[in-house]
Amino acid sequence: MNQTRNQLLREIQRWQFRIVELTLFLDTHPNDQRALADYNQSSQRLRTLVDEYEKRYGPLSNWGLAPSGSPWAWACGPWPWETGI
């Protein structure tokens, strides 16, 4: 289970970083059409992966961006500083 969970999380991490980099680039290049298209495609891909993760393991972000099963899944580990992911 952990292997699959961690693999999915690593995949999310890679797409999330792509979005971070594109966000900074677009802040100073707001009309770059290639970057905008890349951002929109990457954002869609990230959303799909995060939805899949959250359906299986509970919220990946706090403050209500995803529903929780019972018991309250957000407070369950693992935390990033425990796993290094």
């Binding site: 999380l9 690593r10 999310i12 991490q13 999330q16 970083f17 971070v20 980099e21 966000t23 900074l24 680039f25 802040d27 100073t28 290049h29 707001p30 919220p59 990946l60 972000s61 706090n62 403050w63 961006l65 935390w79 990033p80 500083w81 290094g84 992911i85």
Partner: protein, 203 residues
């Protein structure tokens, strides 16, 4: 407001405890050119940025620096969590062990605590953005020294990632500065944030 995402920006693996390396690495947690200084420098300066680009860049780089702070904290934590008191003492970190145990504390490599004097927030976007560019170069130089000292491949990989981000941020701040210079060259702006009619009586 901020949303926390429950994963690191880039993965970290640590193969063995190494409190001696944690002791020097912690400067990127709470030292003058560390990630805490970086994040709050940009997040404090963003309120007086005059252009669309610089408001966004200070917010987004400031936020990314919080993710870097978490990466550095995770490395220090993983390097020390399995080190015993004697191992901490042998690494020259007995003082930290006595005062903080295995906890994270905002300090530099010499144990000097973090202080707000580590950065400026002048309200002048040219002064602030040139400080930000210098800050990115100072952090890059520090990461390069840390890479020279690091032996663990997982740590070296994370440090290389962080070093590269400093280079990207330097570039983005430079582009932000160009947007401010363009804004100031507009005849309606005498100096940052002040419009001529409001500051020159009778005009």
């Amino acid at each position: 407001m901020w949303v926390y995402v429950k994963h690191l920006e880039h993965p970290i693996s640590v193969s063995r405890p190494d409190p001696a390396f944690a002791k020097v690495l912690i400067t990127q947690y709470g030292g003058p050119d560390g990630e805490f200084s970086a994040s709050w420098r940009y997040l404090s300066q963003r309120y007086t940025m005059p252009t669309r680009q610089t408001k966004a860049i200070c917010t987004d780089i400031g936020t990314e620096e919080l993710a870097h702070l978490e990466m550095v904290a995770t490395m220090v934590h993983m390097l020390t969590r399995d080190a015993g008191p004697k191992q901490m003492e042998a690494a020259g970190w007995g003082g930290h062990y006595v005062q903080h145990g295995p906890a994270l504390y905002l300090q530099d490599a010499a144990g000097v605590p973090w202080t707000a004097a580590f950065f400026q927030s002048t309200g002048d976007p040219v002064a602030d953005l040139t400080e930000d560019m210098a800050a990115e170069q100072k952090a890059r130089a520090t990461y390069e020294r840390l890479i020279c000292l690091a032996t663990d491949p997982g740590i070296r990989d994370a440090l290389r990632f962080l070093r590269e981000r400093e280079v990207v941020h330097f570039q983005r701040f430079g582009e932000g500065l160009m947007s401010v210079q363009e804004y100031l060259n507009n005849k309606h702006h005498a100096w940052p944030g002040y419009d001529l009619p409001k500051t020159r009586p009778g005009s």
